[in-house]
Amino acid sequence: MGSLLAIYAFDELWNLSNIVRYGLMSLQHRGAQNFVVCIPGERVECLHGENIDEVSRGASKNVALAVIGNDSDNMLIEVDDSGVVAMASERSWDGASRALQALSNAFSNGGDPVTSFISTLNRVSDDVAPSMAVLTKRGELVIWRSPSSFSPLVLGSYGFDMAIVSSESVAIDILGGDVKRFLKPGEGIYIAKYIVKHFTAGVSEHRGLCTFELLYLARHDAIVDGVSVYEFRKHLGRELAKYLESDVDVVVGVPETALPYAIGFAEVIKKPFEMAFMATGGRRRSMLFSDPFEKIVSIHLKMNPIRGVLEGKRVALVDDSMVTGSTIKTVSQILRFRVGVPEVHLFIASPPLIMPCPFSVLRLDMKGLLAANLSQSLARDYLEVDSLHWLSKEDVDRVASRFGLKLCGKCFGVDFFGCRK
């Protein structure tokens, strides 16, 4: 899945290169093997690349549209033949080329851009259309959060000078801006030099945010649709504590997503939360690699143990989710063989993953899903943990409701968690 970043500086004296660079840097944790930056001109120009510095240098004007995505997301931005518009989608979509053509026609014909955009959507969008961002060669931006999108879109500003739209609030923070609005599903915004218009389009029912947006994808410091990701994670960790059956000495989170879960867990059971592992070479999101070798490399790089605090201790190990179990397997092997802990009790802050994602937001292979293939006792033995606990679907439902969230839960075997508005 891709992440969108669109920046509009109302004063033409801004050169956005460095600003796009830091903006993209703050979104890298969402998966970043592919970068595209587009700018307006005689025709829309897009620069593709595999590192941030390379592409951000291209953002030399006062308007830029950028997308980052995983290794397989290679069609996230497309430009029509005449260079009138670039259309970025947060995930690949069958209707994309039709939408692009229709937008190209609409924007070459003149007329009210918002009306053109909405009528295009009405014609070509279906109930799986993703959120999208359009840049025209005249330098207008249209950004729309689809009701069937699984990730958020946030609107922010920098003084009187810039409007910033991003898939995650952190980009706005990092660029020194202020978050102004969490676009609602179906809401869009048109930004041009002399006019900014806010509109609503698309009538399909909101599918809910992908549960993994809150569980895993967003940074701890992000605010997703008004909800603090950190608070949400800590809260799930607190819920997990009720499944503790035997005494433990320390609480450890699998780095680094699971740290707030472990902190919430430790708070409830009144045992120390310990840093247990140090990462080498910066943050890598193991779950976002599709190549199994790359994935295991990034897991291994994260896991040098701090032996002293763990040796001889009974460990409650907390993680946000378990897909194939390969991370947990690695961690438990390290805890057992390199550190020497007598007990590992595993707590997963989400329910068992039992279905592939029908929307391909997460590439979950049915064959690889641990919970769908192994019995509880077989899983315990494979992972070498003394006990294995999951949050129930009801737990997640209750917490999501409490935070006012509606989350898609298809891969957990339920339509939604939380508010069913």
Binding site: L13, W14, N18, Y22, S157, A163, G176, Y194, H198
Partner: protein, 496 residues
């Protein structure tokens, strides 16, 4: 009673509406720069007359006064004050409500206003540095940090660059913008021959803005209820600075995000400035005076700038709620007999004002001007709201055309924000562009969501200034350069 009102916009239309209600049965004469159909109507209906003149020309306005022979002259905008219109009218013996050119210096020159606050040690002052030459400014800006760059002269609420610079990794980019902007602003300010300082660089603050207006005769001060303006052009506080896209007021004298104590402190600051100003220019201040304030973590109530007149659109919020005879108050102030006067307002009501502007405003007024436009005033009135005519001209063909700035202001009031909001959103739909030129307004103004945001933001700021106050740090920003010592210059940045 014959009243001559000087000015052409929405603020003057609001004043006209308030003045008309008086028991003194005013005949309203208006001197304006263009044929504002709202002002024309008010003058005709009261048996007065309108005059199209250059309102910054003291001579032209004096000629009108001679023809009308008014019992009271009310000067609405600041530019006529700057150009001596008030002075000339007073010299000729007219009773005038409006700041003299010397008093109006407090709005015209931001350097004068800031220096005044420092000289008299007044609460809520900000650090600044001003420049007469571009070379000097260029040199300074190399090292400037978290600052705001402004024209040193009042320039119609334009030209302010707020450059939050608290992240070293982006400070080089911001420094580039500062440098380019200084050059651009200097060349724009060249046109103003009536001021020495061209650019002012100020300490940047953040928080919640509000306007505190007063009426004074130089001795007595009559505070008006607080109003909050919305300077960003576009919804959700996005985009360039404008003269104000709408404003909210009430209930009562304060706003939902400002406490009584903060209101009290604000009026105290405004009064102190007024006193200092009068001692500095050795003249009585007669007219409206206002502080554009911000509740900040540095001070709590903090002065952003001053107005030597009523705020626009802030004045429009008063139209539905003033219960007193407003003309009587203006007249008493102008005759320097304000002592004992009282301003009553309907304290149970709230008001929302929204401005509608043509695309192009505020940065390209040329393309924003000359578009035919219509408002169904009957429709707006049926909703219990009012239309104020601002930057709009009625031509001989009977059609109204945009002049490049905010065209209309819609005013709705109610005993609660939700109801006022709902009605004003409907009322806005009665404004139509006749040639398809895009218009814009801000639907977020007055909404529950924005109001809650402001309440949260004010709470955060209150926590900061509360704790700074307890530690005796209000207004202080200490910087330590090892080897050089502690300084109090918050204008310096990372790049040294």
């Amino acid at each position: 009673m014959k009243v001559l009102l000087i000015g052409s916009g929405g603020r003057e239309h609001a004043l006209a509406k308030l003045i008309r209600r008086s028991v003194l049965e005013p005949r309203l004469f208006v001197a304006m720069d263009y044929r504002n159909p709202g002002l024309e109507k008010e003058s005709v209906e009261t048996g007065g007359k309108m005059f199209i003149v250059n309102t910054v020309s003291a001579k032209d306005v004096a000629n009108v006064a001679e023809e009308v022979s008014p019992d009271l002259v009310v000067v609405g905008p600041e530019e006529p004050q700057f150009h001596g219109v008030t002075d000339v009218l007073r010299e000729r013996g007219y009773i005038v409500f409006g700041a003299s050119s010397r008093c109006a210096e407090v709005e015209k020159s931001k350097v004068f206003a800031r220096s005044l606050m420092w000289k008299h040690d007044i609460y809520g002052r900000l650090y600044f540095k001003a420049f007469t030459s571009v070379e000097e400014a260029r040199k300074f800006i190399e090292f400037a940090g978290d600052v705001v760059i402004k024209p040193a002269r009042q320039a119609g609420g334009k030209g302010v660059k707020v450059l939050r610079d608290t992240q070293a990794y982006l400070s080089r980019d911001r420094a580039e913008v500062k440098k380019t902007y200084i050059e651009k602003l200097f060349s724009e300010m060249e046109g103003y021959r009536d001021i020495d300082y061209k650019i002012i660089v100020e300490q940047r603050v953040e928080g919640v803005e509000y306007t505190s207006m007063i009426i004074t005769d130089g001795d007595t001060i009559l505070p008006l209820p607080l109003v909050q303006d919305h300077p960003h052009a576009f919804e959700f506080d996005i985009g360039p600075e404008t003269g104000g896209m709408g404003s909210i007021q009430g209930p009562g004298w304060i706003l939902p995000f400002i406490t009584r104590e903060e209101f009290g402190k604000t009026v105290e600051v405004v009064s102190q400035v007024l006193k200092a100003l009068q001692s500095e220019v050795r003249e009585k201040y007669v007219g409206a005076f206002a502080g554009q304030m911000m509740l900040t973590g540095i001070w709590g109530p903090t002065v952003i700038e001053f107005y030597s007149r009523f705020g626009d659109p802030e004045m429009s919020n008063l139209v539905p709620i003033v219960a007193s005879d407003f003309l009587e108050i203006l007249d008493k102030a102008a005759r320097r007999k304000l002592a004992g006067a009282k301003l009553d307002i309907d304290e149970d009501r709230v008001t929302i004002v929204k401005a509608i502007a043509p695309a192009g405003y505020p940065d390209n007024r040329r393309i924003a001007a000359g578009h035919p436009i219509h408002v169904d005033e009957g429709g707006v009135r049926e909703l219990g709201c009012e239309v104020l005519y601002a930057s709009v001209e009625l031509l001989a063909n009977g059609v109204m055309y945009t002049k490049g700035s905010r065209v209309f202001e819609i005013v709705c009031s109610s005993d609660n924000y939700d109801d006022a909001y709902e009605r004003i959103e409907k009322a806005i739909t009665y404004v139509k562009s006749l040639d398809g030129w895009p218009l814009f307004y801000r639907s977020d103004i007055g909404s529950r969501e924005l109001l809650n945001d402001r309440i949260r933001a004010a709470e955060r700021v209150r926590t900061i200034y509360g704790s700074r106050s307890r530690r005796g740090l209000l207004g202080k920003v200490l910087m330590w350069v090892p080897g050089e010592g502690i300084s109090d210059n918050p204008l310096i940045g990372f790049v040294r």
